[in-house]
Symmetry: C2
Subunit: 246 residues, 2 copies
């Protein structure tokens, strides 16, 4: 694939509850599908606990390696929400009560006749110089600093924030894909498929086994590439190979 | 918490399909729940693509940092299944066709009157010196080398292999937890909850917001710790705090 066209990203999900099994992450799958659909290549995902040193380490490793880093979790009002502090530390800037966020939240709680508590004020904290990611669900904004986008862990809020972020991103050429169903198991097609992969270095061929309840095997073969002619050529090669197998 | 009692682990899920959004990972959540239930603390998760350098880097980073590393994916018969090679490279040992695995698979395919193809033989490959993880679903074994457990990506097979691994692991003291429902949103309880966390350094308090469709908020508070007296004391503090809020 043409490297010039590739835009890469990583995801970092933050939260003890994801690692204890209490909560099954839903944001990574959604992010993966969304990024793929706009031509951004998600290359790595990490999940870490609510520990500052772990978050700082992961943020710095991933933001330096990929075009974008998207985080989820840890920006709520409680003591275990430490993502704003950790991202500030990763960037070596101060974590401040952002003035615009304070005004936004003060007005929001006033309109609902709710107290703008010390805990709620924590949600206005972000690294100095960060810009807001609007939150149409529950108001408290996410934030963006450099190539890092910090969003909420609650899926409804994460998805709404991501909707606001995506149109602002640079995107690469969309990966094209063709799916080829195959009645054979991987053990039958594995070797000829490997030969076709070698013959078609500009595309990526994946094969995904399915196990039937009756003990049967079948396979879905997916061809991915940036160029329609390359994808079609490899898919044709695979279909020819399958026809020869009978 | 008492560090002497803590047994730590990491998970590494391998596969382009997880990063493209084609497949939503199911193994991490299952692993997290299983490890927690036996007293092993899952501390970090990574997902990487089917690229040798990425797998090697992640395996070496995680196996050195935690007591155990569990991987899923990339041990099938096709060209994109490169986990055995990558783990061998990470350990700087040769990736061999394991003799016992070859015998096992040869007998398996013979009994089913299926050809033991070159592709199927790939599933006998593992680092020299590795031991098998039995696969009651589809026979081809996973493997264990040092503190790394390499298992299949297909959830049914991953779960069956994990069932065979868990009884062999050293386990720490099980984390005890108490869940306290709370009708208030995090913005109301955040500050007093933070005070209680500071007063109870040996336990970990998490709070998890719930958003009702009517725009209401509630919270589940979870207290976790190794010692029942510590957990009960913190939970009592929280219930007292909630009673005072009315």
């Amino acid at each position: 694939m043409n490297d010039k066209l590739e835009v890469t990203a990583a995801a970092l999900a933050i939260g003890d509850e994801l690692l204890s099994g209490r909560t099954r992450d839903k944001n990574i799958g959604h992010l993966a599908q969304t990024l793929t659909s706009v031509g951004i290549n998600l290359k790595e995902v990490r999940i870490v606990a609510d520990e500052q040193s772990e978050i700082v380490h992961a943020v710095n490793a991933l933001r330096g390696k990929f075009d974008y880093l998207f985080t989820s979790g840890g920006i709520g009002p409680t003591h275990d929400d430490i993502t704003a502090d950790a991202v500030s530390k990763a960037f070596e800037v101060e974590c401040i009560y952002d003035e615009a966020a304070m005004e936004l939240l003060a007005a929001h709680y006033k309109s609902r006749e709710m107290e703008f508590t010390e805990a709620r004020q924590r949600m206005a904290r972000m690294p100095q110089g960060a810009s807001h990611i609007d939150n149409p669900v529950s108001k408290a904004p996410g934030f963006n600093i450099d190539n890092v986008y910090v969003m909420a862990g609650v899926p409804k809020v994460f998805e709404a924030m991501l909707n606001n972020v995506v149109p602002t991103l640079k995107t690469g050429q969309k990966l094209l894909s063709r799916s080829i169903p195959c009645k054979h198991g991987e053990g039958v097609i594995g070797t000829p498929l490997g030969v076709i992969q070698k013959d078609n270095p500009d595309i990526s061929i994946g094969s995904y086994p399915r196990f039937g309840d009756d003990g049967s095997f079948s396979t879905e073969i997916i061809v991915r590439g940036l160029n329609v002619e390359d994808v079609d050529k490899a898919a044709d090669d695979i279909e020819q190979m399958l026809a020869n197998l009978g």
